[in-house]
Symmetry: C2
């Protein structure tokens, strides 16, 4: 029995996701020197198949960046729609970011890597622009919730930019630990509870 | 009038420090692909002079690592000798680490870079061993002060390893910010006050 169009579509999506997963791992590990061949090997597919889904490294970069942006957007939407005080929303948002690391860790590392390529010829300007900007809406949301949380007395009365900077620097360090030493990370950073203390009045 | 031996010695020390400073900057910026030629250019000296002080990149690595270890050792010694409660000592220690970033930032980045070279052929085993271990005494001291601070009620009663892991991950993120965006760092991370909140009961 020939496969239905639906089944084919599902297979294509699974293969595409498998290649993207391999790309996340390889880029996080090898950085920008990683090749399409590395990606294919990591994903367990042939180079030919990898190229059928992504014409070149640039197309892969683009798809990976879209995944980060989509996932951040979905999380932010949930925070907008949830009930609760500003402090409760901050708690939810940061807890989800720390928990979501499992899936998006390599992606986070990859984005950081790209954002550090200030003048690389290997990443086109329009992509670099997107990468540099992609974290901004999330930073804006955290900053806004900090200000609202200060009004309700749930957040310390420091300069909101100082608080926000500390939160994101701390998350950055936590994510790097998770990549470098996953075992220690899982054991010692079970949730966002200690990180949230940075905001404690 | 010929220079005295003392004056010659001072000049040699200044030149050596200038080359090491250039090396810190170049390694932090370009990573392990940096060459002796890059170091010499950054330091504003000839390649010949650079080679007179350091036979090769390995000798440079070794000297840089010794600088980190020496500076950490001096700071820890001060903490051992200072009066005050465990909480006050933690405060002093972490404040000094955050303040000391100006001088040792590139060095910190360089050490992190080396510690990530799990299987590089460019750094000999004995040096990698030293790099991986060099942070351990400082981590041990912070962990011990956390436990003592819990006994005096100055530090939150969480698992000491969890607290320690958060402190060092946060410092790591803060140092990375300082390298990536010094202006934002200086404006938004003036001291260790907010970081110390991670330990707040």
């Amino acid at each position: 029995m020939p496969r239905t169009e639906e089944a084919n579509q599902r297979i294509r999506e699974e293969q595409r996701e498998k290649i993207l997963e391999g790309a996340r791992k390889v880029f996080a590990r090898k950085g920008r020197v990683a090749t399409m061949a590395d990606v294919a090997t990591e994903a367990g597919v042939s180079q030919g198949l990898a190229y059928r889904y992504f014409a070149n490294k640039e197309a892969l970069f683009q798809a990976l960046i879209e995944q980060v942006m989509q996932s951040t957007h979905t999380l932010m939407q949930r925070v907008v729609e949830m009930p609760g005080t500003p402090g409760e929303r901050l708690d939810f948002l940061l807890s989800r970011i720390v928990k979501g690391r499992h899936k998006h860790l390599e992606l986070v590392e990859f984005v950081q890597l790209l954002s550090q390529m200030q003048s690389s010829e290997e990443i086109p300007d329009h992509l670099r622009e997107i990468v540099v900007r992609q974290g901004q809406p999330l930073r804006d949301m955290v900053r806004q919730l900090i200000i609202e949380g200060q009004a309700t007395g749930e957040v310390a009365g420091d300069d909101p930019d100082q608080l926000m900077t500390h939160i994101f620097a701390c998350l950055d360090g936590i994510f790097r630990l998770a990549l470098r030493d996953p075992e220690r990370f899982h054991k010692h950073v079970p949730d966002a509870r200690i990180i949230l203390r940075l905001l404690k009045p």
